[in-house]
């Protein structure tokens, strides 16, 4: 239903865990963030996924508008009784999470393997 031509994340399933990898290097402009948000929210709202790992390996830039979407996604997943994890976050972006204290809210892991462990 959502436009496949504008796929901003690639989703891979590992059992009951969905790993969503961002395709973009820069998650900055509003339209892009909107698309990403819709795709991610669809995992919970439409596909009923409760365990989600966000893989930031490709991501070089992230704005505060994108943080808003991540917070909303985290709330949705928690409301569904699930958990959101993040991995492969480069140092500068980790700093963004620390400055905004979102490192307290989000569960962050070094790589995909450790994010998937005991999930």
């Amino acid at each position: 239903m959502s436009a496949a031509s504008h796929r901003r994340i690639e989703v891979e399933e590992f059992g009951d865990v969905s790993v969503a990898r961002f395709a973009d290097k820069k998650i900055l402009d509003e339209t892009r963030i909107q698309h990403i948000g819709n795709q991610l929210f669809g995992l919970v709202d439409e596909d009923g996924r409760k365990k989600i790992v966000l893989d930031f390996a490709n991501v070089e830039y992230l704005s505060s508008a994108a943080l808003g979407k991540l917070i909303t996604l985290d709330k949705k997943v928690k409301a569904a009784g699930g958990q959101l994890r993040m991995c492969n976050i480069r140092q500068e972006i980790k700093e963004v999470f620390v400055i905004t204290r979102l490192d307290q809210l989000f569960k962050m892991f070094d790589d995909q393997e450790s994010a998937l462990e005991k999930f």
């Binding site: 402009d29 830039y61 704005s63 917070i71 709330k75 905004t100 809210l105």
Partner: protein, 140 residues
């Protein structure tokens, strides 16, 4: 290489135009040897400032302009972003790191700008933001 340069743009309230200006400034500071972290910081701050100008200052009205002024002098890049809005008091923005605000989706842009820049100040009626980032030596 010249040690000082100045550039100016007047763009409509359009995020694509804002990206184009950012790319130009990023290319300039990369050429001046700013580290990846410095470039990340200034770019993020410019993104937040331009989005605030377009969305909040000009209310997304494409007929309203955003003026951007860039200057590089002796290892420091300064960027000034001006919108046509009524301005605002950054002190009115609630602290997003307080427990009660942690799960609110908005209000983090100014905090990020303050942390990644060497200098930030609001000018005029609060519709102009001045940002400065100086080149630091690579730690590694």
């Amino acid at each position: 290489m010249a040690s000082a340069e100045t550039l100016e743009w007047a763009i409509p309230s359009d995020t694509g135009e804002a990206q184009r200006v950012q790319e130009e400034i990023v290319a300039k500071i990369e050429a001046y040897g700013f580290s990846a972290r410095d470039v990340f910081g200034l770019r993020l701050a410019m993104e937040e400032a331009l989005m605030n100008a377009i969305r909040h200052g000009n209310g997304g009205d494409r007929s309203k302009q955003v003026r951007v002024w860039y200057e590089y002098v002796d290892g420091c890049a300064s960027v000034r972003v001006e919108d046509e809005g009524p301005g605002f008091d950054p002190g009115d923005v609630p602290d997003p790191t307080l427990d009660e605000n942690l799960e609110r989706p908005g209000g983090r842009g100014i905090m990020l700008m303050r942390n990644f820049l060497d200098e930030i100040r609001y000018e005029g009626r609060g519709n102009v933001v001045f940002m400065k980032k100086c080149r630091t030596a690579e730690a590694d």
